[in-house]
Assembly symmetry: C2
Homo-oligomer: 359 residues x 2
């Protein structure tokens, strides 16, 4: 991003396109930080090469512009707090350079990660082609950074049912797990992708009407600001329906005993966001474990005593300790992937309570 | 403001009007905070009376809505920092209630301050009528919270000259000093208004083509966010040209030795702000004291040694110590008002170095 785009993103969550004056949503800055040394090396050059970790050029940034990286202001306007402990801010901003470099990006070749998952990294254009190939007349997107349990699956299959009821003939699901930086206690991408494959293999989701792809963005945990980016990026990839949950992209306040964002603000801000006027927002219905049916079901407020809420933390603790969740919470193949993941960690990493050694 | 307006202001610096979907600029929240006790007293009422400091009802808030006042998020998204020491945040937010109340405002009668200055408090409609009465074909607004020196006056008279050159027959200046909360070391409104009157009386500005009115907003010192509000409010009052300076509504960082905002960001953000597309922005030329002419003149970068920059702090220090500024810096009548102001303060307040008492 150039400075004009960076400022519009921070202040307006949207960009006015130079070409035709139209407004597009843009809520998180996509910027490249450089330090003083790098800035000095660039000197008066008007173009720079962007290289990968083996120094191979992958893109050229032309007609460059270097401007100040006011980290405090960037963090405050993106997260609505400057409290230390925001995972992405600590990972990518706080210790980054004091300058940002922007320009016209000329990509030499698309980035490959060579981690066995590149086949899931479809560009927006490739995704749109895939939906066309499948003759989709509606595409609904589901953002996730966690393993898929049967509550998620219920929501996705129910969304398809509702779209069919609305008259669509072939609604297709874009299951779009986030592939960039996540916080330390989230399950890593490699294991989540294995888990998602098992969910499809076990038939919890229908492979015929589901496209699984990796969304290569880092997770900001920036709540109402980030949910706009999550929705906008999926619209670019061909989705016209977006499922939004309670407290999307939210997390606990790093210093205070409360959630960082109001649980309803994500949905409210998304519904009013500039550039997203044509987005169809599908509010997330709350699913929980129905003890009378031994399966995940939509929560029925008339009989709350019958329902069990299993949080992400609870789920991780069960998997860490090789305990089983209630029957019907997650397909067995998917659950085994989680247990295997925690098993692969050293005791120091997995946080499991070690069994006493009998001597 | 209702919560939907509060959220749009914080995230988008603009509101989408419910009536016709059009976008208006709105960058600072206009909200009313209440505490738990007040919220409990309101209970299930749908309307509340707003009363003045003598408990006289001045307005009714109908169809009310009470929502959480997340102060940290409000401050971070408005100022781009949460550093303690932001004057308006400390005055009006940090110690305010944990709830905000919004609704449909029904004003019983316009607020009077009974401080001898109410005749200067013209509503936007009254200002527009005044410009019509004067047959203005262009109105240019000047926001200020400081005494007018001859550098300001040069800028305003030069703006009128440029507008005449552009073909306007009767450009009128809206001299619109800010009348709400300012920080402790700014000169109080009463004294500034006296000073502005002297500037007109001494003929530095032409009373025929100048409308002096009080802008009743508090000063946020919120830089690029606030300058949008300063411009938008003047457009509402009939202005179509807005003079914007270096670092508008800026201040020093409360904790760090640097300006809080980049000096150019105010102008840049204003030029891109949603809802202000039709605003004509007149960039502030830099005026300084030209020692070769003994008067304020536009700075000539080819002979920097001839110019003297007199900061607000320097001006205040001179007035405090009853020293005179260089000839031609400010009209004598205006300067005397400043000296009288500092003279009216007790030694503890005026910060003047006391003269030694000869015994």
């Amino acid at each position: 991003m150039r400075e004009s785009e960076f400022l519009q993103t921070l202040h307006f969550n949207s960009l006015r396109l130079v070409d035709d004056g139209s407004i597009v949503n843009m809520s998180v800055p996509i910027v490249l930080a450089i330090d003083d040394l790098c800035k000095n090396n660039i000197g008066d050059s008007t173009s720079v090469a962007l290289v990968d970790d083996k120094d191979k050029p992958i893109a050229i940034l032309n007609d460059i512009e270097i401007y100040k990286h006011n980290k405090e202001e960037r963090i405050a306007r993106t997260w609505g707090t400057t409290a230390p402990g925001l995972p992405y801010a600590e990972e990518a901003i706080t210790h980054a350079g004091n300058w940002l470099i922007g320009g016209d990006l000329e990509v030499i070749e698309p980035i490959k990660y060579h981690d066995g998952l590149d086949r899931f990294r479809l560009s927006p254009a490739e995704l749109r082609d895939e939906f066309t190939r499948r003759n989709a007349d509606a595409v609904f997107a589901f953002q996730l950074r966690n393993p898929v349990h049967n509550g998620h699956a219920l929501l996705m299959t129910d969304t398809r049912r509702r779209l069919l009821e609305m008259g669509y003939k072939n609604p297709v699901l874009l299951l779009h797990p986030l592939g960039g930086h996540t916080k330390a206690d989230d399950v890593p991408l490699q294991w989540r992708m294995k888990q998602h494959e098992m969910v499809l293999e076990d038939g919890v989701l229908d492979p015929e009407t589901t496209v699984v792809s990796i969304f290569p963005s880092p997770m900001h945990y920036a709540g109402p600001t980030e949910v706009q980016w999550h929705a906008k990026a999926r619209i670019n990839a061909g989705a016209n329906f977006y499922i939004v949950g309670r407290d999307p992209a939210g997390m606990g306040h790093p210093l205070e005993k409360r959630d960082l964002y109001d649980a309803d603000h994500g949905k409210k801000v998304l519904s009013m966001a500039p550039g997203l006027e044509r987005l169809n927002i599908l509010p997330f219905k709350v699913a929980a474990y129905d003890k009378t049916q031994n399966k995940m079901a939509f929560f029925d407020p008339s009989r709350p005593q019958d329902f069990l809420f299993i949080s992400g933390t609870k789920m991780r603790t069960l998997a860490k300790n090789k305990e089983s969740p209630p029957d019907g919470f997650m397909c067995p193949g998917g659950w085994k992937v989680l247990v295997d993941y925690y098993d692969s960690l050293t005791p120091a990493e997995n946080g499991r309570v070690p069994e006493p050694v009998v001597v």
